[in-house]
Amino acid sequence: MSDLRDLSIADAAEALGKGETSSVELTNACIAAIEANRVLNAFITETPDLARARAKESDARRAKGDAKGPMDGVPIAMKDLFCTEGVRTTAGSHILENFVPTYESTVSANLRDHGAVMLGKANMDELAMGSSNITSYYGPVKSPWTRLGANVDLVPGGSSGGSAAAVSGRLAIAATGTDTGGSIRQPASFTGIVGMKPTYGRCSRWGTVAFASSLDQAGPLTRTVEDAAIMLQAMAGHDPKDSTSLPFDLPDFRAACVPNVKGMKIGIPKEYTLDGMPAAIKTLWEQGVEWLHDMGAETRDVTLPHTKYALPTYYIVAPAEASSNLARYDGVRYGLRVEGDSLDEMYELTRAAGFGAEVQRRVLIGAYVLSAGYYDAYYVKAQKVRSLIFKDFSDAFEDVDVLLTPTAPSAAFALGEKMDDPIAMYLNDVFTVPASLAGLPAISVPAGLDGDGLPLGLQLIAGVCQEQKLFRAASALEAAASFSAKPGGV
């Protein structure tokens, strides 16, 4: 087979099942592509030996008739936020440069137990804080996409930028990501792939380097909606080691991938627009509404009145939780240590050297909003507004099944753009943050190209634990959009 790396998970599983290819062959094709595309900087740590060993084991299982399902033998990239036993896990930070976990995160263990083959640890924004993968200590990721007729390096989005570049550049069949305010969906939109964040609590956070614990949620980056369903099925599930893990059996996500929205009610929230948003995004959104309407869905306008407060709410809640979570990096138990004359000096010098500028900024904001006298005015206030945002969604879902919005307010931008103003960078997540704050499942589906030939995604959001509705509507959107563009050279 000539285009092994271009296979979806579903097609790879079928080809493996029929003996048309082997996991070793698929894995070797991906390893060769990773080595030929190091200029993208999609991986922090490549694990070709481990990948080949797991591929061999997968082929041996299959030969004995013990294949474990559609992920068995499929080569994937693992975001470097998931602790992997015996494999360095940096979270994109200097402070964890030499950290080799002695345990495996639940999500990566689940995938391993389903037979998935890990190709390496994907690059990411430092400690998952960023929207363009430029905050990584290990250098920015270059998107495999370029603007028509221009030779400017573009960002892949972030924080799961290495994962998105690997999947869209055909270096891996799929990848894991994590999404705190949009870190799966925004890079998926920028690179023309599918990115899905399930309901908060579907995927265990155990063994995943923490950013903002009430928001962090793992999910898949894939090239089809069905693949997202297949991969989520393997990643998710109740885990007693995470007290916020949902104690529910998983529904059959793949079975929900039916491109039929007849009778479904799709809400169009009028607040999901931004001054200066490119016309191409508005046009694509209108096109999306029309597609679903033409396929038999009932579309109606809804209002989510607190949407404009979602981003400022997020930039209190997330830094507050980050400043608390990141207190663990003290130079004592693991990670970087910079010696000092006193314990406090050791802490201060270690953290000044170990954290990059954006992480320091957020930890300082967090320390401030949680400090004595300000906690109620900032953190408690933000958690109250968060309740109102959740209520906006709950009210909307009384009338509709899913919501359709743009994923991001722009296409991918150039490396070096938007770098001076933190708030301009934060605006990347303006359409993804509300669902994060409310803990709702959401998915970005590649739906079209802008005038520069760059991909644009549309986002669908569903109610708590309504992933099946999400996959159904996303399958229909995917079928209507029939997005087939690939980055140059792929």
């Binding site: 207190a327 138990r333 004359d341 401030y368 409310a438």
Partner: protein, 95 residues
């Protein structure tokens, strides 16, 4: 009231991040930009709204009070920067 240089110094100590003197003004500017922007939340009426605590209301799970692991000191200290035997080592704390 915008944060002063002294405020930033105090916050940096709370966060245990050493900020060089010559960076304090620039960081005060950045933090004031962000804090000024998030303060728009003050205009939202939240009188009797409860702060959000969870997505799915469920009681905190309890587990049996039993030992489930242990005797793995070597694993626990495997990544310690400067361990002495099965212990973490830090600069002298008590004079």
């Amino acid at each position: 009231m915008p944060l002063s240089k002294d405020d930033v110094q105090k916050i940096a100590f709370l966060a245990r991040i050493r900020v060089p003197e010559e960076r304090l003004d620039a960081i005060a500017g950045e933090l004031n930009g962000i804090i000024g922007w998030v303060e728009q939340l003050a205009e939202v009426e939240t009188g009797d709204v409860e702060p959000m605590t969870s997505v799915v209301a469920m009681p905190a799970p309890l587990r049996d009070d039993v030992v489930t692991d242990g005797a793995i000191a070597d694993k626990v200290t495997a990544n310690a920067p400067d361990p002495i035997g099965p212990f973490y080592a830090v600069p002298k704390v008590v004079e």
